[in-house]
Symmetry: C2
Subunit: 219 residues, 2 copies
């Protein structure tokens, strides 16, 4: 009654799974509203718990945000894996490796556009490195998808296959993921935040194709 949205009154004094519930509610907030829509009081409100309860599971709002970011990264990786899985089997190993890279890139871009809030959250740091503390929160930076690989690792594996199939000279392999990831990530960011925001879906597709062609040439 008193609570606004889906905040059922719990009958037990203990919640049982508060930590996860908070992350889940946070993800909902982040989904439409980006990282700084995660306001601690609102998160706890949704779970039906008093604000301070969150402090039993997270040091502060930033810690909660980090956990949410981790979850968002995992969803990214999952989306990319899904795209991989949907790929029809190809006989030519070279073709196959190329297709996988394109699929990963497409999954990345699609996720960014389908879930800009999650995507922004996944790569937001504005709050974690607090101004020259230098700590940079060097924790495990990557969150893994169902397959156990992070987005970055997925890309790395695909590039390895590209080398193995003979399509990419081994001496070009080192650092290749930096280039590919940079290009894809850059387009994603420019599309949802930057000056390319507001492009028509057709143009977005064109830009995506153009980008992937250039990536293939440039690797």
């Amino acid at each position: 009654m008193t609570s606004r949205a889906g905040a059922r009154k719990r009958d037990t004094y203990r919640h049982g799974d508060l930590r996860n519930a908070l992350i889940q509610a946070g993800l909902e907030l982040v989904r439409d509203g980006g990282p700084n829509a995660v306001v601690l009081r609102e998160v706890t409100r949704r779970v039906g718990v008093v604000p301070n309860a969150a402090y039993r599971h997270f040091a502060d709002r930033n810690a909660l945000l980090r956990a949410i970011r981790q979850a968002a990264l995992a969803q990214l990786a999952a989306a990319m894996e899904t795209e991989l899985a949907a790929l029809p089997p190809a006989d030519d190993p070279v073709e196959s490796a190329r297709d996988r890279i394109r699929a990963l890139a497409a999954g990345y871009l699609r996720f960014a556009q389908a879930e800009p809030g999650l995507f922004r959250a996944a790569f937001s740091t504005s709050d974690m490195t607090d101004t020259a503390t230098g700590t940079t929160t060097a924790e495990n930076e990557s969150a893994y998808g169902p397959g156990g690989l992070s987005a970055f690792q997925l890309l790395g594996a695909a590039l390895d296959d590209l080398v193995e199939s003979g399509a990419l000279p081994a001496e070009r392999r080192p650092g290749a993921e930096y280039f590919v990831w940079s290009a894809v990530h850059g387009l994603a960011v420019l599309l949802i935040d930057g000056p390319l925001r507001g492009l028509l879906p057709v143009q977005v597709d064109e830009a995506g194709q153009r980008l992937m062609d250039s990536i293939e040439r440039g690797i």
Copy 2:
């Protein structure tokens, strides 16, 4: 006395240039602390004015932030122009055009690393598009450097020269800036925010070189 940092007590009742002063103070805050270090009250404090005074020049905190972002974008463009100007004159027009693109990219990356706060602010939107209002603040998205060109336009011009010099087939020109910008922007973001943060300066240079090589191949 009462004010903490550099907040001189003004003798005139009117400030005379409050709007600019606020933007300037905001830039200082953004410089170490990123976009959400721009706290309206702190900004006005630094200028030596009461918080509400800002509302005579900006509709709200977001409007101030937009102005600051514009200024940061201008500084980015300026940094790129500087890099261009420092380029030794080349006789071969093809070489020259390539050098200019590399210089622009280098300027972009250098600026991002030298002024991560400004850079983040320049491309932050988390607050301007308020959740499905759809307005996306379609104002003049670009801020111009001393030369009167935005970062994007600088790149476009360099690419035009590349075509004119014959190094780039005209049919590859359309959309080329999307690719180049994406790659450079992506690396910049990954370097200062993303998982590539914390790379050693040497590695950063390597990644930068690698990226620019790939870009040249891929354009």
